[in-house]
Every structure is written in C-alpha cells, then in structure tokens.
C-alpha cells in the first residue's frame, strides 16, 4: 500500500487531466485548443505586434518599442500591486488616486516644504522625496488593509472610499493646482528628480528598469517566499489558511501596502516624466490595472494567477492602444476596442476552464473501465 503513491487515487482534473488525454483525435484536438488558450495572452501580444507591424512601418522600430514600453511601465507597476491584491481575494480601487497623491507629495517637497512655526522652508534631497512619497503610498495601503482585515469592510468598498479620500487629499495639498517645476535647483541640491522618468542606463529608460526591478521582486515574492504562498492560500480559502496558522490579517494588510507602494512608484515616474505633478494624475488608472490582471488570466475570485500574466496583460493593453494611435484610429473606437479585448479575455478564460472540465470528465469515464488504472478504494 505504501509503494503505490505514484498512481492517482481519483481521476485527474484541470491541466493534469488535459495532459493525460488519450491520443484519439478528440483528445489531440482538446490538447491543442488547451495549449492555445493557455498561451492566449502571449499569442495575443504576438499577433498584435505582427498585425501592427504590417500595417505601419513606424510600429516595429527600436525607438517605438522603447516608447511603448515606457507607457506600459506605468500600468505594469500598478498591475503588479493589483495582482497581489486580487490573488489574495481582494481588489484595490485606490491605486489611481495614490498615483496622483504621490506626485503631489513629490511636488510639495521639491518646491519646498514651508514650516511656518520655525519660519523655514525645507528642501529635502531627491532620494528622501522618493522615499517619503513611497511611504505615503504604503500608508494609504495600510489604511486599506486595516479597513479590510480589522474592520471587515469589503475590499471593494474600503478601496472605493480611499479612492475618494486619497484624491481629495491630493487636491487639498495642492489646492487643485499643478506643481509646474519638479526639476529642483542647483543651489538647493535637490536636482535629479527628472532622472526617474527621463534618465537612461545603457540606453534603456530608467522607468523600464524600475518596472523590471519591481517585476522580478514580485515574482520572487509570490513564487519563492512563505508570504507569497500565504497570498495564494488566503485567496483560495481564507478559512483554511487561518486554520493552518497563516497570519491572515497581517498578510492582507501587507498586500495592500505593497499595492500602495507600486502605485506611488508609478505616480513618481509620471511626475518625473512631465517634471510636473497634477493632483488629477492617474484618474481611472485602477481600471487599466484590473484589466491587465484579468487579461493575464488571473481569477478575480482569488488564488489563481501570476505576475507574468499581469505583465503580459499590461503589454497587450499598452501595445494595442499605441498601435491604434499610430494607425490613426479614432480615440472613441480605441475605447470600444479596449473594452472588447477585456471581455474576450475573460470569455477565453472560461472556455479554457470548460476544456479542462471536459478533459476531467473523459478521465473520470476512463477510470471506471477496468482497463484504466484501478480506482483506489480510498
């Protein structure tokens, strides 16, 4: 009894079942369809690039690819944070507002923080500005997380509330005005903020490198650490995670903090690219981030999905939008097309689930016939 651990007890399900499909024509067909669906986001990106390259000479050039990737970087950063929140079974609607708030915080600090009591103006160095803005993002995330995990506010509501609060605070701080010059000045020693959005290392824009850095960190975090496993467990079955001793509340709060930091980073990059910070920056960005995560095959129910998918989703959205602009498609049509792509992505996800379900049924049918592996008694 102890040496037959290699045989399956029940019939296989999911991708497992697809792998075990018989090599009949029906089985082969299902296998191919499943593979196509599995790689759908990749294929979609590839098809996009090929089609736009054929339609326009300007599309597939190094400069354009770099430009488009710079656009993607903003949404990708948001999508990385959003992915982790969705994996744990939540949602974060406040990220767009955090983008605006982080920019405003950078604007205030770079233009000089007036402390009336001491009658001085403080000009913090750029690194301190960046750290403080990221901390503000983490702070908003902490509030989100606390509302969700301590006060049991539904994530949708908690982060919807913070969407308004963070935006309102950004408007209050800036009094509704845009900070026009984030370049800093030589005498004050706070120049260099524009490097985040405009600088290059070995010919690659800094913003793209930051995206790569965050992506690698997120992949390590989700795949290699206990914390990453906790996120998947909480999203899959919170009660079971809790009973397994997972510190559910703490983990949830941290996930929202990570999302807040990602959003603040995106906000800093935007402010740096424009060397100005508007309190309205980032409006509706949360929806683009959710779309990227969904196109990447992540379940909004939580527990299923990965960083790679969210990144590809961000690329699909960005490369599609820029391609349509290059072709001169009307802005209004662009919006319609973007919406359709999101819906199509979810429909494809459903059909993949169905295919795997059908494969599981075929496997179950096979397991009751005596020729298959004997169904174990337990």
């Amino acid at each position: 009894m102890s040496n037959d651990t290699s045989t399956t007890a029940g019939p296989p399900t999911g991708s497992e079942a697809v792998r075990d499909l018989p090599s009949t024509s029906e089985g082969r067909r299902l296998k191919v369809i499943n593979l196509v669906l599995e790689l759908r986001a990749f294929i979609a990106l590839f098809v996009l690039i090929v089609v736009f390259s054929l339609l326009s000479d300007a599309y597939f050039t190094w400069d354009n690819l770099i430009t488009m990737t710079r656009h993607v970087a903003i949404n990708a950063l948001l999508a990385i944070g959003m992915l982790m929140v969705i994996l744990k079974g939540g949602i974060d609607l406040s990220v767009g507002s955090i983008v605006g708030l982080a920019g405003v915080v950078a604007g205030v600090l770079l233009e000089g923080l007036r402390v009336d009591v001491l009658n001085v103006v403080i000009y913090p160095p750029v690194w301190a500005v960046v750290v403080l803005a990221l901390m503000v993002g983490a702070g908003v995330g902490w509030i989100n997380g606390t509302l969700v995990s301590r006060f049991n506010v539904a994530p949708f509501i908690a982060t919807l509330g913070m969407l308004y609060v963070a935006r309102g605070v950004a408007l209050l701080i800036s009094d509704g005005k845009t900070y026009p010059n984030l370049g800093g000045s030589e005498q004050l020693g706070n120049t260099g903020f524009d490097w985040l959005g405009g600088g290059e290392i070995l010919g690659i824009p800094v913003s793209i490198l930051i995206m790569v850095l965050f992506a690698v960190a997120a992949i390590v975090l989700t795949r290699k650490t206990a914390f990453g496993r906790w996120i998947y467990a909480i999203g899959g079955n919170e009660r079971a995670a809790e009973l397994a001793g997972v510190p559910v509340r703490k983990a949830k709060t941290r996930v929202y903090m990570i999302s807040g930091v990602c959003a603040a980073m995106a906000g800093l990059i935007i402010a740096s690219e424009l060397t100005s910070a508007a309190p309205q920056a980032g409006e509706t960005f949360e929806l683009n981030a959710i779309a990227a995560v969904v196109i990447g095959g992540t379940s909004l129910m939580g527990g299923r999905g990965n960083v790679r998918g969210a990144l590809i989703g961000a690329f699909v959205i960005g490369f599609l939008a820029d391609g349509l602009v290059i072709l001169g498609v009307s802005t209004f049509w662009q919006i319609v097309i973007k919406g359709s792509v999101i819906i199509l992505a979810v429909i494809l996800d459903q059909s993949q689930q169905r295919i795997q379900g059908r494969a599981a049924q075929m496997a179950a049918a096979k397991s009751v016939t005596p020729s298959g592996p004997a169904p174990a008694s337990a």
Binding site: A9, Y232, A240, A378
Partner: protein, 509 residues
Amino acid sequence: MSAVTSATPVMRARAINKVFGATHALRGVDFAVMPGRVTVLFGENGAGKSTLMKILAGIERPTTGTLELFGEPVVLSGPRDAADRGVSIIHQELSLFPNLSIADNLYMGRERSRNGFTVDQRAQHARTRELLERLEEPLDPKTPVGVLRLGQQQLVEIAKALLQEARVLIMDEPTSALSAPEVEVLFRVIRELTAQGVAIIYISHHMEEALEIADHVVVLRDGGLVAEAEADEVDAGWVVERMVGRSQDELYTAAEPETGAEVLAVDDLVVADPGSAVRRAVDGVSLRLHAGEVVALYGLMGAGRTELLETLAGRLQAASGEIRLDGEQVPPGSIGDRIDLGLTLVPEDRQRDGLVQTMSVGENMSLASLGNYVRRLLVSRDAEREAVERTMKDVTVRAAGPKAPIGSLSGGNQQKVVLSKALLTNPRVLLLDEPTRGIDVGAKAEIFELMAAQAKRGLVVLFATSEVSEALNVPDRILVMAKGRIVREFRRGTATREEVMVASGETER
C-alpha cells in the same frame, strides 16, 4: 399504530446506486414508500440516508437505478421538478432567506398573482397565516425570517412543505431545533397528513422520538438497505444492532494502551456560543490527556465537541478556564501560536476549512509548516519537497504526486492530506474533528491506523465523533459530551453502545 394503508407504493426506488468519485454512497437500494404511512430511515452518519433522500427529492441523480412515482417511471430533473410532481423535502440545513418575510419565503419561486404581473400579497399572507396557525405558531406573515428562533424557522420550513401539498414529504431531521411541545405539534400535523394519504419519509437521530412516529422502519448501513420492519415489531435495541452491524467491530483493533505522562490538562473551560449571547457552547469542561492516548469525544450535534476542539486550537477564545500543556499554562493566542506550541486541529469540514482548492497536494500539505522550510528568506523547494514526499509515503496519500491538484483526490486521500498538514507541524496534541466524515470504510480504517501510530510515537490524539462504533472501538477512553459538558467517561472496553448513546442523550428527548 394505524394509518391508511394501501397495497401500491406511491414512490419506489429500484436498485439505486450512487457513486461520488471513489465513494460508493448507495449500493443497490430498493425502497418503497406507502401512502398514508410514516417510513423512518435509520442509519449512522455516512450510511447513505441523506444521499437517498436527495435522490428521491430530485437534488441528486442516481448513478444507476430508476425511480417510480405513482407506478410510472420518472426522471427527476431537479428539486423543482420533484416538487411539481408532488415530492417535497424539508432540509436538515434550513434553506430560507433570512432577509425576506415568512410569506415571501413560503411562496419563493411560486408567487401568486392575479394579473400575471404583481404579487398578490394579500392572498399569500392569508394562506401563510392559516398554515402557521395549523402549526400553532401564530406569527405575522410579514415577519422577516432572520429574526425568528431556529425552532420557528424550522416550522416555517415545514409550512413551506405543507403549502406545496406534497403527496410525498421527506423530512430530514425536522425536529433538531424544536422544543418538546413543538415536536408534539409537528407529530399531530404528520398524523393529519398521513390520514389524508400523504406519504412521509422521516429521518432523525433521536431514536425514541422517531420510533414513536414511525409506521415502517428501514435501516441503511454502508450504503445498503440492511433491514426493514413494521415499527410495532421492533425496539431501539433492534435498530441500533442493525445500524451498527457486527462487521464494523472487527474493522478497528487498537493495540493495548500504553499511556505516559500527562500532556494536556484543561480545567473548567467555558466558551461562549458564537451564535448566541446567553448559551455556553462549552460549559465548564475539565480533562486530562496523557502521552500515547487516543481519546474519543462522543456527542450529538451541538454538544460542544467542535467548540472545545476549536478553543484548544486557538480559533475560539475561552471565556474562562485554564489550559496547560506539559504543565505550562497556555496563554491566549492565535491559531499560529497554538500550532507553534504543538496543538494542531484537523477541522471537521474538509472542503470549507481544511483545503485550499486552488493549490496542489504538496502546497496544501506544507501550508501550516512553511516556516520550517525557509532558508535565507525564501522557501527552499528541496526542503519542502523532501518533507512532503516523506509524509505522502508515511501517510500513504494516493495521488499522482505533490503537484497533483487537490481536487483530483478522493475524499479519503484529501483527508489524509489535511492530516499530513497537521502532522508536518510536529504536534504534541493532535485534535481531530470528525476525521472520518464523508469517507468510505476502508479509508476510515486507514485514518484510525494513522491516529494509533501517532499515539504510539507519544502524541496525544483527541478526536470528536458522532458515530458510536468509532467511539467504542478505536480509542483508549471515551468522553461523552452533552450540552457543553463532559457527562460521562468510559475506559476502553467498559462501555456498551446503549450506555454511550444514553449518556449523550441520543435515545431520549
């Protein structure tokens, strides 16, 4: 006990088989329901009663076998179809909408209307009031169901079945939340219904009560129909003997106990009922558990077994009382803290509390002990795989491998995964809540062997059960719980089935 009898059954099941994955829940059951009679189904948990009821009510379809209604073969497409054909069921779990009124609940999906557009509230309320008066529960039909006592909710559920004017009425534990006078009212209504020719199928754990209302008695065991008799020819002893059978006794043979030092001591533990402010789920429990012991916690549903185990595991907080582990006081703390101390729970509901369905077998197994495999901040795949594979072999989990999806395993193997997860935390005390729920007989025996093996290694094993044969044959000691207290204790081999059942309050009301 007399009732209108006629020769032709109103409903008949022929050679019903039902297979769930690797579990054979019903094995060739032939079952006839006579009009105007109360047929009582007896059987232990897992004997197949509920599955058979679900098939008769159209909720489940039989794997093989046929149903006949009024002499005609039928295929029931769902509970609504069954209800339209005159077969209604009162569920064990209430299926009411707490936010809606009594009348809305009764008429859900079959709303009355005069113009085909708006609901005829007045007619619905009048009829609802009539039905409630018949049940001697004169409530306002507009009352939201959520504010009613559990017993009143159960009566609403019964009123719903009465409204449908069923020819066959299935009652699954209809009295579990009723007071004694309410039960009398229900029995009177049942008698009225049978006088009108309605066939009643009745399931209850309260044996005396069920025998009181029964005309005909049917006993299920391990998915098969093992005995059938007229109610006035049998008594509780006869039923228990048929329910349990002799074969079960030979299944579990534990070695002679070798108990060691005291490991877990509980004094005067009180736990508030999470669902009610006044009731105590655990009401002053004290116990001593020793290394190498396997102890059963026997009791009916709601006796406080689950709450006691969950308090020890840190999920519920004690209102008062003391827990000591190896002589050291256990401070209040989270589930994680208790796992670190060596108190680990295998929960009752595997799907809801035990498994993360989106994760693989291996990921589920290592979830509670992930910290042990962390090397320099990252989870070491090698350390994790080594622990998982070793445990899969020890516990004989039959799966394609650690990466197999958890849903691909049979119930018994899923339970072994949950057990493995607990064992990987290196517990001192292993707490198991109904560890054999919903798994077949062979897997049960394996689970008990594993529990005995852990005890032999010096662990304390405390498990809750509602099956007498498990309580009698597996453990070194039996603690019987009723209404939040430990009411009796038996040493191994000193208790009889009847004594245990009587102590738990099962055979009396």
